[in-house]
Subunit: 333 residues, 2 copies
Amino acid sequence: MIETPYLLFLGDAPDPLAAKVAQGIKDWRPEYAMGQLRLDGCRADMRIPDMTLAEAKEAGVKTVVIGVANRGGVISQTWKKVLVQALEEGFDLASGLHNLLRDEEDLAAVARATGRKLHDVRIPSVKYPIANGLRRTGKRCLAIGTDCSVGKMYTALCMEREMRERGMKATFRSTGQTGILITGDGVPLDAVIADFMAGAIEWLTPDNDSDHWDLIEGQGSLFHVSYSGVTLALIHGGQPDALILCHEPTRPHMRGLPDYKLPTLEALRDLGLELARVANPGCQVVGIAVNTQGLAEDAARSYLAEVEARMGLPATDPYRFGAGKLVDALDAL
Amino acid sequence: MIETPYLLFLGDAPDPLAAKVAQGIKDWRPEYAMGQLRLDGCRADMRIPDMTLAEAKEAGVKTVVIGVANRGGVISQTWKKVLVQALEEGFDLASGLHNLLRDEEDLAAVARATGRKLHDVRIPSVKYPIANGLRRTGKRCLAIGTDCSVGKMYTALCMEREMRERGMKATFRSTGQTGILITGDGVPLDAVIADFMAGAIEWLTPDNDSDHWDLIEGQGSLFHVSYSGVTLALIHGGQPDALILCHEPTRPHMRGLPDYKLPTLEALRDLGLELARVANPGCQVVGIAVNTQGLAEDAARSYLAEVEARMGLPATDPYRFGAGKLVDALDAL
């Protein structure tokens, strides 16, 4: 697969959220994240050493990973100059953008000339089936959100780490480019052909031991009009036994949609559960994961206490305060 | 575009539903449907003349249209023999199957050698945007179903015909291969990349006159786990002002999913409306279209009367009894 360690290319990321690919690698495989390369105007920072390509070479880096995602996924000319140079200096490139490295003529030509690899992890490498809706053995947990980018992937990764520490059988199932770059496999769901979305998720989460949990990475939101169809395919293909509700309490409106307000956690609970029970009548909402990075610790703790009391469900920020409560709830099912 | 008239190729269609492409052309453009070509085991019949390729040539046919859809869309070897012969005898081919004519080496080679055209209407020919959720001018009506293949396309086509007869501004917006073969354009939604589904529907139904109605062809069902994500993208990309509920009362289970029961019309109404109001808070359910082809006329009329009384909404079989009630309801909005 992709050769490690990495130099994380942050480009001219307009905000930290745009660099969530880099952040994910840094958080979940810190041993791969040797340094970062930022261009003028970059507003993201992984708090790891800034490196030139020459310095990265010196440090033993093998692959430059594009750690920044733009809406629509464009490889800009500003980036191109650095990426061409990276190939020329002997690095492979890896990317999860919609616009493929292999489709950029200059990059493809330089890669051929230098013998370097272009990894486009967003491209499905499997011919997925149409979903058949049959019940599968083993158990599945899916994180669904009030919005996009509210911490669904982190929630699943935190739960996997906690479950493995407890000796439980658990597998993080990636459905996006960051997760695929972190774990080395998964389904790039937003690049799958519409008819095969749910089938791709059935394929990703096959029959398993009765005490095994798949922790399926969520995507989009049922309430985000740009991506809601992807979310519903995850719910119906994943057949979750357990749902975790994910929320970011400081978001002023749906990401990228200034005219759309976030739904309440109650609305997400009711709609998510109704839709999930079409595929799995026994599905339960078991807990709430709040991304509290916009709150001070005291405010975060009191927000979580309020949510727990209001919803009657365990609530935590699994990245900040641990995923123990959520894993306890899964274990109790 | 595609040269007319057509010979409708029904292949070895396992049941009449599998030939809904041919049926659609025959019903909505009967002047194009010169004849049908059926293979051994074919269980569909358009009640138009059976023709050999030689007879079709004699009758002036220009294009052989593959009028049969298989689950997953496979071009079988049984079909291939006829299709190669058709190209050799001077017909173009048109298809809405997932497996493309152009990807079949033998067909592509014969088409090149004979100068004939291969029309794959399922392939998106446009780079669709990501949905932006902005409100558009003009009005939109979407048919949603308790299941797949319950008459959503026919409902929209019947309403368009009725509205045009009344002098109303109305455009059928096709989202599937049959509709595209009938009207010559549209979005082949089930072949669109997941991230762009809702955006494709926004593109298909742009700003329009304030008294213009788009009649958007529905796909799948919110309750059909194989395709529900496609349906939700239609609802959120289409921003419908009006929903029509579609139902087939004799269906024993969800199409292709023996373990899944159909939802009630009430469940479809409530879930469809809740989801539609995310994108368009003013959306209303205005009527019910029942596909009564499995019922005798008396039974159909009493079923419709019962549904009207129970749901408090106009109910008709628009193909059998006319779409007048549904158009009245739109007009009253």
